[in-house]
Amino acid sequence: MQRRSLLAGSAGLLSVPFIAPSARAQTGAGGRTEIQFWYGLAGALGERVAEQAQRFNESQDRYRVVATFRGSYPEVMSGAIAAWRAGTAPHIAQVFEVGTATMMGAGPAIRPVYELLGEAGIELDPQRYLAGVRGYYSDTQGRMISMPHNSSSAVMWLNLDAFERAGLSTTDLPKTWAEVRAAAQAIRARNAAEMAMTTAWPTWVMYEQMSSLHDVALATPANGFQGLDARMNLADPIFLKQTEMLLEMQRAGHFTYGGRDGGGGAAFPAGQAAISFNSSAGRAAVQREARFRWASVVLPHHADITQSPKNGVIGGASLWALTSRNRTAAEYRGVAEFYRFISDVEQDKWWHQVTGYVPLTLAAYEASKAEGFYERNPGADAAITQLSRAQPTPNSQGFRLGGFVEIRNIIQEELERGFQNQQNAQTALANANRRADVVLRNFERANRR
């Protein structure tokens, strides 16, 4: 008897797709057009995304954005791609910055921002957006392809209590790598913290940001912006200098490798690390957890290479409009309306202040400044300063490299082998360069049309 009811129950479950979030638009109650929006931010930030969609839904009555958390960034991206192949793509997918080249190469699968806005008759001047943000997501003609959404930059986090214990100034903070090294040495010498220095996102901070700051291409020409034929440029002395410095500091106990991707991020708020590098979006976590005085400042540069560092590059994600069979003009129009909504100064300012991401528009930055937001939250503008302090050059506007996720991992892997004393800096870079070039060539072959 029991078995029968179990079987009956299972048959019921199998036939009714009671959890099947369909990506197809439905005209829901009240005649609203539904817009599916997949995002990949967990936790508090994810709640803000949901809130953003809700604000949009309350602001008008023609469209309803349904925001769904679909796992981590890579999961959202591969999920959206698989859904597109199956003809069930969401209208909007949040794709992390390293996926940009893959999405740009997706031709018929995507609808560029400028096209959507044009069709909807919505005017949004690209110049309104922060230069460092806009450049990353525009084509060579300066037209925006994807919609900036959540952007951050890497900044340096300093534990001022540890600095004081080490006898270092807490007002005149390090600006160059030489000063950072000296500080790390002092911290170690006085044992002022468990770790003198660590970093999250090793590739992003130590290679991508440094390439941009020092106006050196990570891949030539122009970091892939000019086409699929870019080659890695890790042989440049700046990368050797950077890698040798990290390896030396690690051997001397002045630098602790915290693992790949975000792994090294935990040590700072926990008070273990005196100096850390992480996304400016980590501000909320630091504010909540740190039991010490701290500061967030722009990234250091090598003074012997440049006296006036360029802008840093962004991290984070942008919004991509995807195509699908039977997708109507009204649905695309809804996407455009959502883009317009989140670019609105008031909405943008809210987003910037509650999430810690940089504002999308200059106007929201000015408005926050006028409100005294940065006086109440010192250091919250470090990332904005870093992103906008120079006119982006072809080497500092961002990266458009195919297979960038894999390239990041390759650099991390080779760096890890260096940390394990299996190879020196030069070999690590040569290996990374060679392997990353293979990735670029494969991408080129797969995307050539």
Partner: protein, 300 residues
Amino acid sequence: MSQVQPAIAAPVPLAAEAPRRRRFLGADLTTHVILLLGVVLFAMPIWIVLMGSTHDAATIGRGEVPLLPGSEGWNNYATAWSEGNTRRASVPVSTMMFNSAVMALLITVGKLAISITSAYAVAFFSFPGRMLCFWAIFITLMLPVEVRIFPTFQVVSDLGMVNTYQGLIIPLIASATATLLFRQFFLTIPDELVEAAKMDGAGPMRFFKDIVLPLSATNIAALFVILFVYGWNQYLWPLLVTTSTDVETIVIGIVKMLGAEADTEWNIVMATTVLALLPPVAVVILMQRWFVKGLTETEK
């Protein structure tokens, strides 16, 4: 059937050992010590997690590794059960446990149902293409889902089954091993029984229901344990096919809780770990007798 006997033979002391009892006393002691070491080896990781789950996050975070119970147990389990990991907007453990239970039970029931009928067809009927069907099923032994992981995902995605229970379960329910076991067992059912049934005018379905199913009860129970554990413990497939937290299983949920170590509430992770391993361990221990028999006779 294999020659291997279930591990419950009664001990028969060897006559030759009696005069040497004194020497064996020492040997027995060594035996106990080593076996106890083995037991401790297995139990220690669980003990650490069990004790850790009764302390607050800071204690674990500082690396104190408590080996005795603390006072936060109730809070931790209640938080995990009703909220999950509070810092990463995960789903409550209760939801994940429900998803895991649905997945494990449906995989188990599904596998049992389709295996026993197909084995019955292969063993008791003669029809064109019989061996072809048998081999088609047998060859799937060589294609575990892990091996053809991405193409299977593509197929499930093309069928629109990503993030559904169907997509989670159906690709896992074809089971060559269960079919083989049932077939092997059916071949041992004496022809006389079938004769008698036929003479009584019983049709094949009646025979299946009245004779074959009751006779297979032990095998079904054994397979139930093995398949339930298999279903509950699935990792790679759910990881690929579920990105929505609505259908997230507990095993996936825990690993996601680890996430970036930055934001991990270790005490909640520990409580969740204990909750996650309770159901399959309970099934194995409570149904030990059938399980042991089944495991050693099904050869996987």
